[in-house]
Symmetry: D2
Subunit: 256 residues, 4 copies
Amino acid sequence: MGNTFGHLFRVTTWGESHGGGVGAVVDGCPPRISLSNEEIQRDLDRRRPGQSRITTQRREEDRVEILSGVFEGSTLGTPILLMTRNRDTRSGDYDEVRETYRPSHADYTYQAKYGIRNWQGGGRASARETWGRVAAGAIARKILRERCGVEIVAYVQQVRDLAAEVDPSDVTRERVEANFARCPDAGVAERMIAAIDAARKDGDSLGGVVACVARNVPPGLGEPVFDKLEADLPGACSPFRPARVSKSGPGSGGCG
Amino acid sequence: MGNTFGHLFRVTTWGESHGGGVGAVVDGCPPRISLSNEEIQRDLDRRRPGQSRITTQRREEDRVEILSGVFEGSTLGTPILLMTRNRDTRSGDYDEVRETYRPSHADYTYQAKYGIRNWQGGGRASARETWGRVAAGAIARKILRERCGVEIVAYVQQVRDLAAEVDPSDVTRERVEANFARCPDAGVAERMIAAIDAARKDGDSLGGVVACVARNVPPGLGEPVFDKLEADLPGACSPFRPARVSKSGPGSGGCG
Amino acid sequence: MGNTFGHLFRVTTWGESHGGGVGAVVDGCPPRISLSNEEIQRDLDRRRPGQSRITTQRREEDRVEILSGVFEGSTLGTPILLMTRNRDTRSGDYDEVRETYRPSHADYTYQAKYGIRNWQGGGRASARETWGRVAAGAIARKILRERCGVEIVAYVQQVRDLAAEVDPSDVTRERVEANFARCPDAGVAERMIAAIDAARKDGDSLGGVVACVARNVPPGLGEPVFDKLEADLPGACSPFRPARVSKSGPGSGGCG
Amino acid sequence: MGNTFGHLFRVTTWGESHGGGVGAVVDGCPPRISLSNEEIQRDLDRRRPGQSRITTQRREEDRVEILSGVFEGSTLGTPILLMTRNRDTRSGDYDEVRETYRPSHADYTYQAKYGIRNWQGGGRASARETWGRVAAGAIARKILRERCGVEIVAYVQQVRDLAAEVDPSDVTRERVEANFARCPDAGVAERMIAAIDAARKDGDSLGGVVACVARNVPPGLGEPVFDKLEADLPGACSPFRPARVSKSGPGSGGCG
């Protein structure tokens, strides 16, 4: 069950960082939603590593292919297979970790759980697995916006101790996209970029906080007892720990 | 799905605070586990309100009845129905909230979601719903201990700003039970009790932090991508926000 | 999973024939459906053994209790616990089968699967387990009728080689109830009753076929690939083997 | 849910006959099972249309690609993506059915359910969808054989009124493969082929019965109440109606 998320709209991601490819099956998508490769690609391009000097330098082309579930630009109501092939899989890069476990990676955990792992990279625990989540999420967000009027915007709230000073209720996607730290506070964004640069020069990286605002959420959404909405979100995007959930009123919620 | 938790060992709780009763169905329990009412009652007695002056004064007898799934003291592998009737349901107490929503309760949310609610009390959102979780949890903990050697102990880590100073790795259930604040730091426990007493006199209550330690957890436990263990825990006991997860080594984990 | 049926409207039955009681939890029932004990009892009374000389002579009172999910005559959208206690459980009747397996019963199967069984009776495999299905089914049928206009009528189509000659499209519940063979062909019903009487005198019983007609079923109902409607029906009422499925047109289906 | 089958070993098929491709995701496959493309291809080759003059003449290459879940010839315990591209999709062949519903096809049903369909072919209801089932089934059968000693053999038991006279308990896969009717009764096989040939010349086709024998099945397998094994089988391979289930003893079962 741990590779599938959702009940009516179900996303199953598949793929290791150094296998043949990565992707997702989206089942339960309503029929007659217009859907093009370009729309999904737009979000995948935002995700793509190597866009700027502050993210991982691995190069991925990541053109999405839709192999099923869409016909003449419209969803059919049948499973949607989204995929891309792995290309930049220089397994030689990883030879040294064949016998060792990298700190802060899931190498040991996968070995303990399955008795085997794709040592050429992070396997399923690689950030590359999120490719399928982003592709499927692009469809989910479109449905939420078109069918339910729900608007979702996420942004970098904090890097190390540098925190954006913004009012979540008026952050727009445009402001988030205005710099490559994806922080809507332009001044703090510059300092974030400088801090990341400095850490990178030291061979280090920095932790941070991502905030996500969902607007026009209908009151009463979510499960009543187990797996409530606040508990469901970590299930979708773990490692994740809700830092703060503010409810400014019915129909409005933001989690940071 | 929001009233059921688990996959192979599945707990479905049912019951409102002011309906006929509350309870749980446990499906997927292994057969041939010895199980008595007394074992489950022991945990229910720990949960019972009105045990001391610092908890809610509502009185509940809460004798567990096992209506199915156990035969001659042994589980059958069939669904186990655990129940108790509601008795102390003075609906008159709640007349004033028939038309109003209580702050910090789920009254409005249930009304918005279902268009109806049992206004005589908290309904499903009442703490009384946890009766079924405790009863089912007593069975789960027994299986984990007997079949897997996993030991679980939870305790009050903090009340308001009063934090226990204990090493999670050597907290025992005996120390937790030694005072009715259920805080293994006896000195802090006394101050917690005094603070709760003072707040209660002001018609107020205090927030806190519960720590839970699980020992001898096998490495690799949990789902690999979605609904990982850290994300699954909030689903079981929400409202819940993991404050800290420390992993002191393979086979050991504690979450506070 | 084998004690739960359905996805959005989910029925979990619990209870052995010789435990404390039997019943069901219905989760996912829409809120604001009027529901009384009497409505459910009506179907349970039709199910009750001992109503006539041709059915099993075991006596069951079987008054339904609704312990949760209904408030002031209306469903709440929360789990509905339906239960009745076992009374006529003369375990002495079964002493001889403690060490032996009864032919055509699931005694051996349960022993093989679980390594234990409630030998005092059929346990979960007893027809008594169907009490919960009938109680939950009464709710399901009401929702289908009131919300979707779907009408369902079932009847005894055949006993041994005695087959009713009726047109499924015009069988009414009144005609089915007109005799205690529950066969809408009055002439054949009499011969069925005589045949059952004769078999019973010989200490035998007779097989038969039940037909069930569902009217106003919307076209497109059911799953597209796996677990299609025709495959789902046996899952609900096994042992069951669809004898014939006729589709007389869109929006109409009957399975016998 | 209707595109997924199974609980612990879960198969989700995807793909329409005239989309980009077809395939399956297998989740829950145990790790450290040796698995090669060739093993799966062997079963896919048996499935492939156009192998003989008596099956559909559509030509499919159908080379399986495994894009994830297998590393150095071994399963990883992660989702296995099996796929092949569609090639022989001459949509021109289907222009005439753009506006009409083909008899005995699911065209109308899909249109009624989803309000859209891939009219270029059978879409999800095409026999091409079974490609993913066969590929996933090859893995399932291997695990059943290697881990549980369960042996499965299926064969054509009947075509029109021509029935094989064989003892299910000694049918071997070799005898089934000995002729392209896949009927272990060589004499009847010849007459089946002649009958199919004759029907084909008339632009017709013939119905039949497939028998499947599973040997060394452990007693107690399957769910206890709902979705029992006999009810689960139709869910996997519908349209399917169990014609006969014989149980010759513990640990042995055959269904035809």
